[in-house]
Symmetry: C2
Subunit: 183 residues, 2 copies
DNA sequence: ACCTGAACACCGTTCAAGT
DNA sequence: ACCTGAACACCGTTCAAGT
């Protein structure tokens, strides 16, 4: 069933119709509503499972190549979605999540989990002297997440979704933001 | 007529109906379509005139209090929109602009104008030694815009739209990002 | 010329009827 | 028990008829 969700990728959340999703999934409208209470709930389900799976991979990368490289890895995966044309879908998810608590609540839980994992890696990097220890680890992670999301959305808006350019942009920001002061 | 546009503020782009907008504006559906070719065009018009007017105020602030303070001023104005509950509307605008060229083209023109103004102020700040001169001024401005937008959206998503907290977050990022290296 | 508003096409959701 | 799909309520857009 979740495979039918791929409809949104092609047409966007508000453009895709329930009829199309039903056709793609090979089920009737009534059956679809047996699995999801509404269209908004479907977008919540999509957003949720496109997140979080990569957390272990991130932790390994953070240990091996440092937190900046690991964040760049996460950045690359995220930017690829914009390059694939999913930018407006991501913006739709934001809009629905901001508007509708029943969409945002499960997403916030997944997000909080990611923040936790990244914060742990951030603290480790601070102890190694890789990152300025005077930074608040959790706020720093939140800020970098926000910057990542902002860069992706803004580049999609400006019609320049080249992931390499986005990566360079993010890396330049992250390096300066995180580097210890005084040399 | 643009006053009727306030409907979106209350209900969001996809939630507000043309009938509501007509009622608020005191005109009929046919008359509304005389001024705007579609609903998407209305959101384009809203987004456009909520931008750009403050550019001169920004330039004055940049000269008087430095670029970081001036950017924080812009940040405050932007964050206030999220605190006012316009977050999902802003996300809708992003989604429509990413999806629809006829929405994004006028917005990109307005945006390019702002980037130009901020870039000029950034270069002046670099000459004053306030900002690291090795940074590319235009990319830096773009990155800070992206971060600003990202912070606003993310905070709205996390249900913490306190403008003061957002400002602190943005300022911490901007100061470290822009400060000259080696002390 | 410009506006009105009924009509049209379409979409998310429901529910009586089937299996 | 579960599914079907016609029906419902609603919304963006149009256009023949009015002024």
């Amino acid at each position: 069933m979740d495979a039918a969700i791929a409809c949104f990728r092609k047409r966007g959340f508000h453009q895709a119709t329930m009829a199309e999703i039903c056709a793609e999934a090979g089920i009737s409208a009534g059956a679809l509503y047996r699995y999801f209470a509404s269209k908004a709930e479907i977008i919540g389900a999509i957003a949720e499972d496109s997140r979080g799976e990569s957390d272990e991979a991130f932790l390994r990368a953070a240990e091996e190549h440092g937190i900046i490289e690991a964040m760049c890895l996460a950045c690359r995966g995220f930017m690829q979605k914009f390059a694939d044309g999913d930018g407006s879908l991501i913006a739709d998810i934001f809009a629905e999540a901001i508007r509708d608590d029943s969409v945002s609540t499960p997403l916030r839980a997944t997000d909080a989990q990611s923040v936790k994992v990244f914060t742990k890696a951030m603290k480790a990097a601070q102890e190694r002297g890789e990152v300025d220890p005077s930074l608040d680890a959790e706020m720093t992670v939140n800020t970098l997440f926000a910057a990542l999301e902002g860069i992706g959305l803004r580049r999609a808006f400006l019609r320049d979704t080249d992931p390499d350019a986005a990566l360079l942009q993010f890396r330049a920001l992250a390096e300066r933001y995180l580097s210890p002061r005084h040399e």
